[in-house]
Symmetry: C2
Subunit: 167 residues, 2 copies
Amino acid sequence: MEWQEGKDKFLQSWGTLGTSWGINRTMAQIHALMMISPNALSADEVMEELQISRGNANMNIRALMDWGLVYKELRAGDRREYFVAEKDMWKVVRQIIVNRKKKELEPILKVLDEISGIDGTVSAEAEALTKAVNDIKLFSSKADATLDMLVKADSNWFVGTFMKMIK
Amino acid sequence: MEWQEGKDKFLQSWGTLGTSWGINRTMAQIHALMMISPNALSADEVMEELQISRGNANMNIRALMDWGLVYKELRAGDRREYFVAEKDMWKVVRQIIVNRKKKELEPILKVLDEISGIDGTVSAEAEALTKAVNDIKLFSSKADATLDMLVKADSNWFVGTFMKMIK
DNA sequence: TAAAGGCTTCAGAAATTTTTGAAATAGAAA
DNA sequence: TTTCTATTTCAAAAATTTCTGAAGCCTTTA
């Protein structure tokens, strides 16, 4: 397989994967492009490579920086900005966990707490709701703790201790 | 908080959560509705409760059955079909992992395998691509193994052994 | 066999998300 | 200060996803 073909296939697949996880195709592709680029890229290079508009490139690069997956790099004597992606997969995944946990797990836990205050003794429906909410709360707080642990753990610890355990 | 208010809040939040994970709002809401319902529901009840069309209800209930999250229940002397959701959170999450792993992780691993066949010695670009692909492959196969383990494990084992470990 | 009740399908409509491109803004160089 | 280059913003357009509703199908009952 040619390099160009492999690259295109990778960018394409990564975009698709992003889509099915609620991340927009372009953001995922920009990240993929930066992951496989040996040097920092300018907005123009991203636009050219992915055939997207300046606005689109700008907004998604910004979003990737907000997620902590891409950093800005400045060059002396050059007014343009360049960008590099975090390339350590473990750090990438950790960063994604931290972000999504904050944006999604925490709000739902808050809602569940509010709901679990209802009186579950008045009807079968209310009882079922209370039970489901409590089950989910229990599960979610365990998931939350597990993710915290994963995030704090470093890659070596994870690979060593955890992978040994599952053998 | 009233039961009705709690229920609405739950259905709404669960729908939103689904959306940010690439699951459509209605499918997530139907599942939520069935999770908190003490008895099996007919398509008409789902339509009524969520104010959606018959076609929409039918398609999403079918999809939930394909995912193994909802079962059909027949009643003697009644031609209608009723549906119940799997209510054990551990089983629900396991089922979701199995499905998404198959639909998303496996295809990407296949693509990565294909790409990793390129010659990484010809340019810095090709080398960077090869390295990134190999890193992702390594990480993904570990994730794959971890998920397999989680899926095979039962809830008690998980809570006991694993949670003890992270203390 | 016909009629009735319920389920499925899918083309078009509606809603939502993403992208464009040009104007506004920022800030460095002249 | 003015000009020039680059970045940001955002309303409108395009693309994509989801939903509707009615026609057709399938099964049971009369």
